[in-house]
């Protein structure tokens, strides 16, 4: 008996036990904003944006690996490290930006919940308050960990997109060559602004800033140390690859159906659901709704609490669900306000649900370089990371990503000025 128990603590089990943070972070990336942005990218530009997926995936692996490694080596969260190394002022403004960005993301998640159930004509005034209350309670009562697995299993629904892509008989040759192609020179005219907008959203949703804070925190919370890190790294890489493969198929499925049929501007979830028609026929809406609902609610439970932790740790407020409300008032208030306000604004009549889903991801893309530069400085600090500092390749890739995102943001602002 004792022998068996001891055996069970050997390496294989160790790996399975470590499996999780990376996979969950990867899956979490395919949230409401993610599904929507990928759908929009496929519908608007067909296969033309597929080239971005390969470099983005490489960057995603590099960035998530940095976050996970920092967590394992230092045992501290990303915002803790930012505060300790860069001081109060930098932390304050970075946290402010993170709150604004994550707030947009939270709105997007609840918009995703509302749009998915909207397909069954369930009114938003019922869906949004109910889901917000459910999220609040689940997290505060600490039952989140058990529900996490349900979300993870339910995310198998994404496989539908892989099947849907096959059923839709896309032009595989075009899709494949578009994936490895050199970036096309952006389309001319008024579409040029839209091109940059979609591209930033695409990168911003794949490598979202909040995910880095969340991933590093999960690694710390799981107690992954340097010794176990070699195994945890595979979990991170696996999560990134799975997330990117699904994203690729969503774009292809939407390109082969929506773009092909000339529906280049998606107005609502019902439009996006049409991508699943070749596969599911009249049940396309049901399938799409299930996928979007699961993804949105998952991210909606993770995002507000992860934001509250990051901000309170960075700025030195008491935090933690094991504390009572009066012991950690800022933590609980921030958490509550993020949910109540994030869900509440959606109830304003005529609020553009789908636009916010894409917009939030563009904001992610704009914030990304700032988070990246902080991460780069931290992972190159020998005093902090010891022998686990970044390799040169990692530095080159991460810096290139940061510079590219700043460049794209500049291009976006420039084309907007031109368009006006």
């Amino acid at each position: 008996m004792t022998l068996l128990r001891r055996l069970s603590r050997t390496r294989l089990i160790a790996f399975l036990a470590l499996l999780g943070p990376g996979l969950i972070a990867g899956e979490g990336g395919n949230d409401a904003g993610g599904i929507w942005t990928y759908s929009v990218a496929g519908a608007r530009f067909g296969y033309a944006l597929l080239w971005a997926m390969l470099p983005t995936t490489v960057a995603l692996i590099v960035v998530q690996e940095m976050a996970a490694r920092m967590g394992a080596v230092t045992g501290k969260g990303l915002s803790d490290l930012i505060r300790e190394e860069f001081g109060f002022r930098v932390t304050f403004f970075l946290m402010l930006a993170l709150v604004v960005t994550n707030f947009a993301n939270i709105m997007a998640e609840f918009a995703g919940v509302a749009s998915s159930l909207g397909l069954f004509s369930i009114p938003i005034y019922v869906v949004v308050p109910l889901s917000a209350a459910a999220v609040w309670i689940v997290v505060v009562r600490g039952t989140y960990k058990s529900i996490e697995r349900i979300f993870l299993i339910a995310s198998v629904i994404y496989v539908c997109y892989i099947v849907a892509a096959f059923v839709a008989r896309p032009d595989w040759m075009t899709a494949a060559s578009a994936t490895v192609a050199r970036p096309e020179s952006p389309v001319a005219g008024p579409l040029r602004y839209l091109y940059f907008y979609t591209l930033i959203g695409l990168v911003g949703t794949t490598i979202s800033p909040w995910m880095q804070f969340y991933l590093q925190a999960s690694i710390v919370e799981k107690g992954v140390t340097v010794r176990q890190y070699r195994l945890a790294r595979w979990d991170v890489i696996l999560g990134c690859v799975v997330a990117s493969v699904i994203a690729w198929f969503i774009i292809v499925a939407c390109a082969a159906t929506l773009h092909q049929a000339g529906w280049t501007e998606l107005r609502d979830a019902a439009d996006a659901a049409k991508a699943l028609r070749p596969l599911a026929g009249e049940y396309a809406s049901l399938l799409f709704a299930a996928g979007l609902f699961n993804a949105s609610l998952f991210a909606a439970t993770v995002l507000p609490i992860s934001t509250a932790y990051a901000v309170c740790e960075g700025l030195g407020f008491e935090s933690g669900l094991d504390k009572k409300f009066h012991e950690a008032p800022v933590f609980y208030w921030l958490y509550t306000v993020l949910i109540v306000a994030g869900a509440g604004v959606l109830l304003i009549p005529g609020f553009p649900l789908t636009a916010i889903m894409e917009f939030s991801q563009v904001v992610n893309g704009v914030l990304l370089p700032f988070v990246l530069i902080s991460m780069l400085r931290l992972t190159n600090d020998r005093e902090l990371m010891g022998q686990h500092v970044n390799s040169r390749t990692f530095n080159v890739i991460a810096w290139a990503t940061a510079v590219a995102m700043i460049g794209l943001t500049a291009a976006l602002l420039w084309t907007q000025r031109v368009a006006n």
């Binding site: 128990r5 045992g75 109060f88 030195g316």
Partner: protein
């Protein structure tokens, strides 16, 4: 006498005797070997390199620092592990607030400057962990300093007096040089220490457990969340774990060691004192989730011929946990359990009365009784302690109610 914040001083111009600006303040250093709160010197960045300036050389300390002598006589700064640098080691870092019993992050540090003869005496008075320090650092250089000072007067302070601050230092060599001993922390209740340690990053947890007294460490360790406890024990070296484990209740020690990899358990056992090692390894033989795994071997058992006075005498020499004292057990010549006497009964009896006369019907269970059945027995008979016996009916150990409560809570 005035209070000056670290963030006001950092970057402040330093003027020499002639009144010319010769450099800027880069650090404030304290040497904990002497007086722990006295500022030893400032580190001034000058065009010629880093120089040190002691309070004895200053006439004013604040938004401008004035020295009494010429810049050329300021000593060159050589880095040393034995000094505490306020900006590097304290600002923005986590510390333990001993009084508030929690981990907090430092927003600013407050100094008191007192004129002595023709120079100054500087002491660290408190660390600021509230909004005042935060706003000051946010607004510094943006809002004019006199406006800022007026504004900050309205912000209620949240400071921790310097004597209630325990610094966290993960480098053992530096910890010795800086005389960081977690004295304040060690004086807290073990449950509070446990709460604080759970809030710390792994390296800092390890530092605390390497440093504090073994007995305190043992008690605190028992209170810590099992997952965290395991990671702490895994990070400490076997010798240190052995020292701590020796101070624990044998059942708790066995419980802990059983969760470690086998070779590690062996290493730790080897480092332990023979007596404790024997007790713990005996317990390790049994399954963890049985009566034997839960029991402790520290209890009072007397010969059946003993009198009440013998029991009182045994109590005086007992070193185990107090929970085990609720009942005193009676054994015959071959250590077979024959009776159990509640402590209360002994207390109200005359010293000469035979314990066997006071004995009640005793409840016992075999060593391999599963957890659930143990809990059921406690519930059914309202027990404070339960005797565990081997196949021959000999007393092997006892289980105390607090262990059952812990077991039930963990089972959820």
């Amino acid at each position: 006498m005035s209070v000056i914040a670290l963030s006001e001083v950092l970057g402040a111009p330093v003027r020499d005797a002639s009144g010319a600006v010769r450099g800027r303040v880069r650090e404030v250093a304290v040497e904990p070997q002497g007086q722990t709160s006295r500022v030893a010197y400032l580190i001034v960045g000058t065009p010629e390199g880093r120089r040190i300036l002691a309070p004895e050389q200053m006439t004013s300390f604040g938004a401008t620092v004035r020295a009494v002598d010429a810049a050329s006589s300021w000593q060159r700064y050589t880095p040393s592990d034995g000094v505490l640098l306020m900006k590097r080691d304290l600002l923005d870092q986590q510390i333990i607030d001993v009084h508030g019993r929690k981990v907090v992050r430092v927003n600013d540090v407050e100094f008191e400057s007192t004129p002595v003869n023709s120079h100054l005496a500087l002491t660290v008075v408190a660390v600021d962990v509230g909004a005042r320090g935060a706003i000051r650092r946010l607004a510094k250089g943006v809002v004019p300093s006199f406006t800022l000072r007026a504004l900050l007067k309205r912000v209620p302070p949240r400071v921790i007096p310097w004597e209630f601050v325990d610094l966290l230092e993960t480098d053992p060599a530096r910890r010795v040089k800086l005389k960081i001993a977690y004295e304040g922390l060690s004086k807290l209740h073990p449950a509070d220490i446990a709460d604080i340690v759970e809030d710390l990053p792994p390296a800092e947890r390890e530092a605390v457990f390497e440093t504090i007294d073994e007995e305190v460490a043992a008690e605190a360790l028992e209170e810590i969340d099992p997952k965290v406890r395991l990671s702490i024990v895994e990070s400490l070296d076997s010798n240190r774990v052995a020292d701590i484990v020796e101070e624990m209740d044998p059942d708790a020690a066995a419980d802990l060691l059983e969760r470690l990899p086998e070779d590690r358990t062996g290493e730790i056992l080897l480092e332990m004192e023979p007596e404790e090692r024997q007790e713990v390894s005996q317990l390790l033989e049994f399954g963890e989730r049985t009566a034997a795994g839960r029991m402790t071997t520290e209890y009072i058992a007397l010969q059946e011929t003993a009198v009440a006075d013998d029991a009182i005498e045994a109590l005086k020499h007992f070193e185990g946990s107090r929970e085990a004292l609720a009942t005193i057990y009676l054994l015959d010549a071959s250590r077979i359990l024959v009776g159990a006497v509640p402590l209360v009964k002994i207390a109200i009896s005359s010293p000469a009365v035979q314990l066997s006369e006071l004995s009640e019907e005793y409840i016992s269970c075999p060593a391999d009784t599963p957890d659930d059945d143990v809990a059921a027995l406690f519930d059914k008979y309202n027990l404070l302690t339960l005797a565990v016996v081997d196949e021959q009916g000999r007393l092997a150990g006892i289980i105390t109610a607090d262990d059952v409560i812990a077991m039930l809570r963990r089972g959820r």
